[in-house]
């Protein structure tokens, strides 16, 4: 089951990456939440990518990290940078999402009270991710895990082919 945004062609392209790296994310704890986002932000800044793209990439990475911390046993964030775009994938091993359409609704959340007390779980995370990416795909399998793929354009003319 997949939900797509803004995709008319096979987007999530296959041109050779100029940079690729994978960062592990620990599930079940917020102790290091934001650590991967900080690293990715610093990396992209170092690549002289525009502030706006860095800001959006940091945000979608942060929200993905929080989701892994909140709902998964473990996971990873995969960063790929080409001259045209930044691609961020969040892949986790966890409970998966029962109803993706519902999960994508602003305000809907399955967060526990503990998560909410910390100011997470307001049902905004996936919406933020979608709103701040140019292309977004989510797939999930119950009991197995969830896979998010976000693409942010560097080159404004990049049309996803």
């Amino acid at each position: 089951m997949a939900a797509w945004k803004g995709l008319t062609t096979n987007v999530l392209s296959h041109e050779p990456a100029i940079y690729e790296n994978s960062f592990p994310v620990e599930g079940g704890t917020y102790e290091n939440a934001g650590h991967v986002s900080s690293q990715i932000k610093a990396l992209l800044k170092g690549m002289k990518i525009s502030k706006e793209v860095v800001r959006r990439a940091a945000l979608v990475t942060y929200e993905s990290e929080i989701n892994i911390c909140s709902y998964a046993r473990s996971g990873k964030i995969v960063l790929q940078v080409t001259p045209e775009h930044v691609t961020i994938e969040a892949i986790d091993e966890g409970q998966g999402i029962v109803d993706i359409e519902l999960a994508m609704q602003e305000g809907y959340s399955t967060a526990t009270d503990r998560i909410r007390e910390m100011g997470f779980g307001a049902g905004m995370g996936l919406c933020n991710i979608k709103n701040f990416s140019d292309f977004f795909r989510i797939t999930s399998e119950i009991g197995k895990g969830t896979h998010l793929k976000m693409v942010i354009r560097i080159d404004k003319d990049f049309d996803g082919i």
Binding site: Y30, A33, G34, R55, L59, A122, N128
Partner: protein, 119 residues
């Protein structure tokens, strides 16, 4: 408007990131929902919240906030302070309730271009 001017005027207690007090405050944002703050706050904002756990440091740092004000005398957790010191994020504490703190900060930022000519 520099952060240290606001700290002095409102008598805020600085608990971390003293080295960042010279930073310029460009605006403000208020919120306890981290996703809301992530999505809507801006670089140079002074973030006012009552969340005290360590994840506020990551949010402020990722969004390049000027600093964080904790209201109602809420002290940051020990690991929040550690993280904030490491990342150089200024955290200030005030005993004022949110409404009052926000109003005062807003007035300071809104009038930074000089006194209202009508008064």
């Amino acid at each position: 408007m520099h952060l240290e001017d606001i700290v002095k005027a409102l008598n805020l207690r600085v608990v971390s990131g003293e080295e960042g007090l010279a930073a310029e405050v460009l605006g403000g944002y208020v919120g306890d929902l981290l996703s809301d703050v992530m999505a809507n706050s801006k670089e140079g904002d002074l973030w006012i919240t009552r969340q005290t756990h360590q994840n506020i440091v990551a949010v402020a740092s990722l969004k390049d906030h000027a600093g964080i004000i904790l209201i109602q005398g809420c002290n940051p957790a020990a690991d929040t302070m550690d993280k904030a010191r490491k990342e150089g994020v200024p955290i200030m504490v005030t005993d004022m309730p949110g409404f009052e703190a926000i109003g005062k900060v807003y007035n300071m930022i809104a009038t930074k271009k000089g006194p209202d000519p009508s008064t």
